[in-house]
Assembly symmetry: C2
Homo-oligomer: 343 residues x 2
């Protein structure tokens, strides 16, 4: 920045008044200022193309206007939509959304949290730290310790209660919902293609499946849990494994839609017909889900809307003193063509 910054003083000089007065018209304060001078100040501001230095304002007010958003993978449709929702609301209200992509590395998560701390972020949305793993959890404590002192909302991060607002993302409920649908359609031999190892989200979805099964006196056979990683590729590989036990299975729940899509693709590729030979369902309702062969039956999590709600919630708790609650979003069973009713 070679060129000198234009400050409130320059405006004051041009408008023939004090910086104090300029500040007053900028923030239209309670302290009265005459119509006349106000106009002069406005004119000066326009003429100089002045905009108050947020950094200086921040120093004075002890606010950074930064909202940190920490996610695993911004290219994952799930997080992308969420970030978009948050941004929509936050940027419109003069806040900065500062994203971090952690690729599920604790080190990066810690780094993000430290940066956010150094920058005195006003609030943090933390969608990371979801590994149920001893070593990882140890490190998480350091992170949480930092987060505690801040205005933070955790996104279904961990089973441990941390005295931090932890939003239930409805993972378990979604899995339960679609499982019950499967059972209603007569399926009893249901397989599961898991998400990433030790990821809390995977755990919850698996749990939703298991408990629904139990409710109907059915069991989730451990032999019928196939590993996956939330990706299309992972779904394909799982399909190959699953093929070996195809006779023991009438339906399969994939931990997410990407996996389900991969499953369907490879199943087709191997000459297995969906849903005639096997039913496949997912969770998320990706935009692509309706264009698979056959269109995927799944449950929609309105993540974008959750994002805007989080934005709203954060903003309220930053401006108002008493924080209202986060508006919840409704998930929905999306029946398409990948499930066959049996018997």
């Amino acid at each position: 920045m070679a060129n000198k910054e234009i400050t409130i003083k320059d405006v004051a000089k041009l408008a023939e008044c004090s910086p104090t007065t300029v500040s007053r018209v900028i923030n239209n304060s309670d302290h009265p200022v005459s119509q006349d001078t106000a106009e002069k100040v406005q004119a000066a501001i326009e003429k100089l193309n002045f905009s108050p230095n947020r950094i200086a304002q921040g120093l004075k007010s002890d606010k950074s206007n930064i909202i940190g958003v920490i996610v695993h993978d911004i290219c994952d449709s799930y997080f992308a939509q969420m970030v978009k929702g948050i941004e929509e609301f936050i940027s419109g209200h003069e806040y900065i959304v500062n994203i971090y992509n952690t690729s599920r590395s604790v080190e990066k998560e810690l780094h993000a949290v430290n940066m956010l701390k150094a920058n005195r972020a006003d609030a943090i949305v933390f969608a990371g730290g979801a590994l149920m793993d001893k070593e990882y959890e140890q490190k998480m404590y350091t992170i949480i310790e930092q987060l505690k002192s801040q205005n933070t909302v955790l996104l279904g991060v961990t089973p441990h209660p941390f005295e931090i607002k932890n939003i239930n993302l409805g993972n378990q409920k979604a899995a339960a919902m679609i499982t019950e649908y499967l059972i209603e359609q007569g399926h009893q031999k249901i397989a599961f293609v898991d998400g990433p190892q030790n990821l809390y989200t995977s755990y919850l979805r698996r749990k939703g499946l298991k408990e629904s099964l139990n409710k109907y006196n059915l069991n989730l056979n451990d032999e019928l849990i196939f590993s996956g990683d939330f990706s299309f590729e992972g779904g394909r590989k799982a399909a190959l494994e699953l093929l070996k036990k195809i006779d023991e299975i009438t339906a399969v729940l994939a931990a997410n839609d990407a996996t389900a899509l991969g499953l369907i693709w490879e199943l087709n590729n191997q000459g297995i017909k969906v849903p005639e030979d096997i039913s496949v369902v997912g969770i998320d309702d990706l935009p692509e889900a309706k264009y698979s062969y056959p269109p995927l039956t799944t449950v929609s999590l309105p993540i974008y809307q959750l994002g805007t709600n989080i934005g709203k919630y954060l903003l309220k708790s930053l401006t108002n003193d008493q924080s209202s609650d986060l508006e919840s979003v409704e998930m929905k069973l999306i029946k398409r063509k990948s499930v066959k009713k049996i018997i």
Copy 2:
């Protein structure tokens, strides 16, 4: 922030020295400070869990450490990858990446630019403003005027030279590349499914097609340009239109992969075989592209890598005085199964 902030003064008091000295060890300045006191200061910092207030630092140094990234749609795989690339590099170097999702609205673009200005962003990546539209361009001037004074890189934004670093994203070249491939395979009657109306990117891809055609004394028949919007849905609709002239067409270039995927889907749906009845190609090489029926022939733009390169470039020009050039990335023709060799 009810709880009082820990400042350099607190550290100084605990370490029994002056704030000046603390500052010196924090920034390990040239000014010497004895081993002994340095250690005391470090100890105090640890004990108080102190991290210097970036806002105050920013005020003093006239740096915000903010890098603004303005994109059309963060959920679009193209931009998501780009943002991820930028973040990867930038966050690792103590910079904040501040994203804006504009949904192609000039008003939002202007808002973003104004916020970035108010926050004294150190650099801006502007991937917006790409509409070739009179009214729009008028407003763009206001935006550009603001951007000019900042360290900005434009991402293939507009045909007009604005004295701002404007990166050629290779849109035209990509289109040319795949067109030539089509011609090599014997295709002469090539249709085009356009991108969003007036979008510069669409224009460039169309131009790449047109000029390659001309090179071989072929013409792009205006009747064979179908409208689209870069989406799967758009591709589907275009397929329906395209069907009416199927006899005049042997191949179709979609403005992007999403469109091509939609095309293929609907073509299949209508009983038209790809590539037997018609060849389809796209541009971008989305992850999904290899899983369509048939797998899509396309050209890959390594957007993620472009992102990291932009990060690198920005960082260099912020730290070093003389700015080195942006490393370019290489696009590649990805031959899969959606093109048939004819004659």
